[in-house]
């Protein structure tokens, strides 16, 4: 008798908790995950057919022009993660070597940083204040760019020396079984109706849909100023903001989404300059989580090492900057942003620069 009464409150609690869960978002997440896995499978199939195009037609055959290629590719599709995934599938298909795949992923980060900037630029063209519209995008781009300059050097060193080669992860039995049973028939369906080169493009499209669905799964932050306003006004230790940026982006998988999550933390949408730069640094580490997952799905341990080299390099460079030269670095970044937003001419020069540089790299 007593035991039956004890179980009921537990069951009632379970029902109560279950009702709180947003099952629509859970379903969206599962669909997004399935689409991501499908996309990688399609891109893997199609990458082989595109190898001659990439290597011969576009002449993407060294670290410099693959950096430019990834950069421009991300501009075109306004997203970095699909380009990073594409870099891994090209590597898997033999179109790119390790270092070229690494630099193409780096290029994807630089191209992806343009997105927030582009939106700000549109606001400037519509007459809004330059500094207000562009500061965050410029900071994101500049911090990412300066960090990745050193990441290229360090990551390249890791890959050339094979320092991280022993740290590898394959897809594992469970995932392989799942893809064999569930996904292979779907991929076979695509293969039947599409030429191989189109499989890659189809995969690219599916991955973008996957990310778009994933963004819809993210919790809506509708916090009032009074709830966290004080917290958003305080100046945190750089390492704390670095960790927060990394943690938030581990969930969002996108630096631009992580930055937009900062908006509801203050009713006015303001964030402290001191907090933003380390936050962006942290976001740049875990933004590769989806690319890491793509490497696992490809079942290519060498691809996993490439992404790991990115993440480890970004982490080391970020921490070194924070521990040694953070204040001068912070001032330099903010001074540069101030210079760009000071005059239209400076802004124009900057915008031309971020198109000319990847174009020049492509020609190398």
């Amino acid at each position: 008798m007593q035991r039956r009464f004890a179980l009921q409150p537990l069951w009632a609690q379970f029902i109560k908790q279950a009702r709180r869960v947003n099952w629509r978002k859970v379903a969206l997440f599962i669909v997004s995950l399935l689409l991501f896995i499908l996309a990688i499978a399609l891109m893997k199939e199609g990458a082989q057919a595109l190898t001659p195009l990439v290597r011969d037609r576009f002449a993407i055959n060294n670290a410099a022009n693959s950096l430019g290629f990834g950069w421009f590719f991300a501009y075109v599709i306004m997203s970095g993660s699909p380009v990073a995934a594409a870099a891994l599938t090209f590597f898997d298909a033999g179109a790119l070597d390790r270092v070229a795949a690494f630099t193409m992923i780096t290029g994807s980060r630089l191209g992806a940083s343009f997105i927030v900037l582009f939106i700000g630029f549109i606001y400037v063209l519509r007459g809004r204040n330059r500094a207000t519209s562009l500061s965050m995008g410029l900071l994101s781009f500049t911090v990412t760019g300066t960090l990745h300059f050193f990441v290229l050097l360090l990551g390249g060193l890791f890959l050339r020396t094979g320092a991280l080669d022993n740290v590898r992860l394959g897809s594992g039995g469970l995932l392989t079984a799942f893809t064999d049973v569930v996904l292979d028939p779907v991929v076979a369906l695509f293969v039947r109706f599409l030429p191989n080169w189109a499989l890659f493009l189809a995969g690219l499209g599916v991955i973008m849909v996957s990310f778009s669905l994933f963004d819809k799964c993210l919790p809506e932050m509708a916090l009032k100023e009074s709830q966290v306003g004080r917290v958003s006004r305080l100046v945190y230790r750089p390492l704390v903001m670095f960790s927060l940026g990394g943690l938030v982006t581990l969930v969002s998988m996108s630096v631009s989404v992580s930055l937009s999550i900062l908006v509801p933390l203050s009713a006015r949408g303001f964030v402290r300059r001191e907090n933003v730069i380390p936050y962006i640094m942290g976001a740049n580490v875990t933004t590769f989580i989806d690319t890491l997952f793509a490497a696992v799905l490809l079942n290519n341990p060498a691809a996993f090492t490439i992404v790991l080299a990115q993440m480890v390099s970004v982490t080391i460079v970020s921490l070194l900057v924070q521990v040694t030269i953070f204040r001068p670095y912070e001032r330099a970044m903010l001074a540069f942003v101030g210079w760009v937003t000071a005059r239209n001419r400076n802004m124009a020069l900057f915008m031309v620069g971020i198109f000319v540089i990847p174009a020049l790299l492509l020609l190398l």
């Binding site: 001191e274 204040r327 001032r331």
Partner: protein, 272 residues
């Protein structure tokens, strides 16, 4: 006012002694000269130093005592300040530190974390306090100005105070109204922005005490803007909060007080 002067006989300690003499011109002060030694071998030198300092102070300060302690400098200063219930700790600050000292933290930096009373760090040259730059973040209760009034009301006689708030915010995304990110103090007060409210609160407190004052807002990095304002306005002392925080705050918040003390080139008064 009971002042604890922590001295080691070096050049930066001399500035602290001069600062105390300046304070004694306008305030009624009783002073204790404290020297902390590392081992017994330094006793004689320390005793000589303290008696010389005491003799110098006795020309302007009625009640001068000396104390010698042995151990870690910061810990002993704090222990003496707590046991003796002083109103103010006065110390100098070395202009440059060795790399090891910068990593381990200076005596001043260790003092900042556990202050039982305000700490005046004398720097550059001693000067009478006539113009004060009060840097209020607005985030901690009670407000910095109220804490200053409660702990050192004598310091507010015949001074002019500039209440400064630094807005280091930028817009988190484009398209947001960003006028407040460039606004002056009056505009923020008119807009009832949080920064304007804090400045207005400080103005009411100072008006009640009949202290002449003005309100300022600067936009940029907190530490840099405070240092720039201190230099540009040629203030006699910069007043900041200790921002010790408790628990998570101490672990997670950046220690701006430490950075401001390092960057500002004139006396800094840290109020816990």
């Amino acid at each position: 006012m009971r002042v604890l002067l922590a001295t080691k006989g070096s050049a930066h300690s001399e500035v602290a002694v001069q600062m105390l003499l300046e304070l004694a011109r306008t305030l009624t002060i009783s002073a204790t000269v404290l020297t902390v030694i590392k081992d017994k071998g330094e006793t004689e030198t320390a005793a000589t130093l303290m008696s010389q300092t005491a003799a110098l102070l006795e020309t302007a300060v009625a009640d001068v005592q000396t104390r010698l302690r042995m151990g870690d400098a910061a810990a002993e200063i704090l222990r003496e300040a707590t046991e003796g219930r002083y109103d103010l700790i006065l110390t100098g600050r070395r202009a440059a530190h060795s790399m090891l000292r910068r990593i381990l933290g200076s005596v001043t930096q260790h003092l900042l974390t556990k202050l039982p009373c305000p700490l005046l760090i004398a720097k550059e040259r001693a000067r009478p306090i006539r113009t004060v730059l009060l840097c209020d973040s607005g985030e901690f209760a009670p407000p910095l100005l109220q804490r200053l009034v409660d702990s050192l009301p004598e310091l507010l006689q015949d001074v002019h105070i500039t209440c400064l708030h630094v807005m280091s915010q930028i817009s988190a995304r484009p398209g947001l109204p960003g006028e407040q990110l460039r606004a002056a103090a009056e505009d923020l007060i008119k807009a009832h922005a949080p920064e304007g409210e804090w400045l207005q609160r400080d103005s009411r407190i100072l008006a009640g005490l009949e202290v002449t004052h003005d309100l300022k807002v600067r936009h940029g990095l907190v530490v840099d803007e405070i240092a720039a304002e201190a230099r540009g306005g040629d203030y006699d002392v910069v007043v900041i909060g200790a921002h010790r925080g408790m628990g998570w705050a101490q672990l997670m918040l950046d220690n701006l007080a430490r950075q401001i003390v390092a960057e500002v080139d004139r006396p800094v008064l840290v109020v816990p």
